[in-house]
Amino acid sequence: MEHLGEKLAALLAIAWLLPLLGFTIEVFGGYWGARNCKKAAYIAIGCIAAGFVCSSTALYLWGSETGWVALESASHGGHDEHSSATDDAHTAGDHGGHDHAATVVEHHHKQTVFSGCFYRLAKFGSLNLSLDWYIDSLTLTMFVMVTLIATCIHIFAVGYMHEELTDDYVDHQVHTHDGCHFHRPGRFYRFFSYLSLFCFAMLGLVLAGNIFQVFIFWELVGICSYLLIGFYVERHSASTAANKAFIVNRVGDFGFIIGLMILWTSFGTFSFADQHAADGKVQPGLFSMVRGSDGKLEATDGIVVLKTQQDEHGHWQVPPDSSQRKTIAYTLLIVAGLGVFCGCVGKSAQFPLQTWLPDAMEGPTPVSALVHSATMVAAGVYLAGRFYPMFTPEVLLTIAYIGCITAFVAATIAIVATDIKKVLAYSTISQLGYMMLALGVGGWGAGLFHLITHAFFKSLMFLCSGSVIAGCHHEQEMPKMGGLLRKMPITALTMLIGVVAIAGLAIPGTSIALSGYHSKDAILATALAYTKLNSVHFLLFLIPLLTAGITAFYMFRLWFYTFLGKPRDQHLHEHVHESPLVMTVPLLVLSVFAAGCAIGGEEGVLFRMLTHSQPGHVAQGFNGLAAQTVSLPSHDAIHKVHSTAGSAALLAAFCGMTIAYLVYGLGLVNPEEIKKQARAVHAFLANKWGFDDLYDTLFVKPAHVVAKFAAAFDKLVFDEILHTVVRFAVVISKWDRKFDEGVIDGFVNLVGNSTYSLGIGLRGVQTGRIRQYVTFIAVSVVTLFVLLFAFYPKG
């Protein structure tokens, strides 16, 4: 029992590090030499599957060691016990010795949250930068979910990416200058090494025990996303999309860094949980400092006093001595929360940074399934959930509205999208908006519940779309499909499961439904309870309700469009084939989870698992005292309106489905006519609400103008200066050359020439005649004598 934390940490660390090992082997294993070798894929699958086993083992171990305390019916009167979930982490040391056969009440006091430190990277003053771990039921659930989905997608990718298993891959979407298609070696191993790296980063993000570590892996998943979006780097659209994703994410990360700076300055720590130092002292984590042990966030005169001292029961309290008090301005806390949420906006493609996600569909479809629907984009929601105790009601309101707007905008665009992956991408954005909305309106459990269910059914749908695309020979436009149900029945049926799940359909009057119904139901119920408390914000219920209807409409539109009706492109239709087993089996597995993972709804296993980690203050709700402060609904209030909200959501979903069936299934109304009727609206939606144009006008074009100006400045000023200098240097060197040629060379030549001419002249003297030489000698002697007589001093 005492070592449960270490055991869990070891298991999850193995699951976390195995993909890194796989990545290392795949990168350095020399697979670039053998392009048609599947070893890299097997290594990657082995690593992530082993990670799944480890994660599942850890989850089971956690459950059995804690007596499955999380799954027990949480009586609504038992708030006190629930609220102490985080408190347990602090006090468990005292209760750690309890017997396994303890009573139910005592189970509640068993430690369920564990934290610790793998390795300290650096220490700056009071600030620790370390690789921590923080394990609660949310971490475990995320681990299992990520590794399971990743394993399925890895297996699927073996089939989907088999075209890369060649030394000469022809990219039909890239044309070289001579009009031919682009040829390059296959990148099979590279794809799987990227996937492994991504899995490592994602799991590290989930396991992280402090916000800085989250940031590190945040960036790491960002770079993986960049690499994977730009996998077909020769395609201009792909490289542009990769750049767009990376740059847009940087905008969000800028806010994230601001949040980090505020946290460091004000709190002096990044750690979520309390840190037990080696000398037995306990340093409070971020959550303890803000919320204390009772989950109350109190601000007096705009100042929040941090709870940095433990009383004798181990509860965190405000230090009685005012000189030891640490404080933070309430506005600063808001800014910190908004900053961190800004990072989430970027990563989870929320309004107004949602534009990168649809473009990210340029990556291979398994990437879209894993990175851009199920896991990475959900990391923003995960972080918002993890960081929940730090968010003030004002921040939560912002989150709610951002999520609401995102959900609606993305859903409307999805109506008119024709690219099958784009529809799913907008649907992803919309669902992420739902999650954010849920978190914002106080539905912590509902938001993360939807995160898990959405991960399953959205990855399922993406894989189905991948199967369709592979079957249609990389045709992604829905208007060219149609009638694929008979050609690829497994894909169509699994897709239908996903569609029903996301649409939130259920059999009325019962709770028999697929996963999406339960999670969306929970979100809408929370939103309804919220609007009842804060009637000003009634839109926060109505818009999601409307969006639920739209969701059902466009998802069924997609399904009807693709799989029913008459084949619209006969040539294409003839060549369509069902995907091989390696692709359909993951679909089946995922469809099982998409359908059944949320069985029981809010009484079910998954929801209870998640809400066990719920921050303590959420359940009671929050009563805003001042007029401008919002109130958050308690679980009781949510429960009361649950059936109302569920009925409304179901009604909306059925409406959407019916309209879709009428239009696209039966063909009562020609969609083209609607398009003509509402041309302006259609154009507006097809133009993605003009966000891309807006950003283009606001940022890209000004940047281009500035760049052009800078280029012109460079050209006109700097280049001119340089040219002048160069011309000057040329003139100098010309003069220098003249000096060299005239003076130096002239002197040397003069010496040489004179020596030469002297030699020529003296040559004549050397006649070779002995007699002449003798004459010379005689003359010389005579001359010498004459000189001697003439100049020798007399006497």
Binding site: R763, G764, I770, R771, V774, A778
Partner: protein, 103 residues
Amino acid sequence: MEAVGPNPFLFVSAVLFVCGVVCMTTKRNGIGVLMGVELVLNGASLNFVTFSKFTPLGLDGQVFSLFVIVLAAAEAAVALAIALNFYNNHLTIDVDRGDELHG
């Protein structure tokens, strides 16, 4: 009676020397040139002996003149051999023809 002083001897040796030089410069015949050399050497030799008598040089002058005679003999032998070789090669004894070393 007054004995002959050194000056007449020196004058004779000067005449010998100058005649030798003139002989060397004017004679195109190799043997003639050689004879000029002999004359020059004889003049020098006569000088030595003269000084050996009229100055404290003494016996040294005679020793030197002996060396000169010996060397002259040796020189004559070698020079004659050279002259014969020259004659063999050029079929003439005219030293003006042996100007291959001209500049």
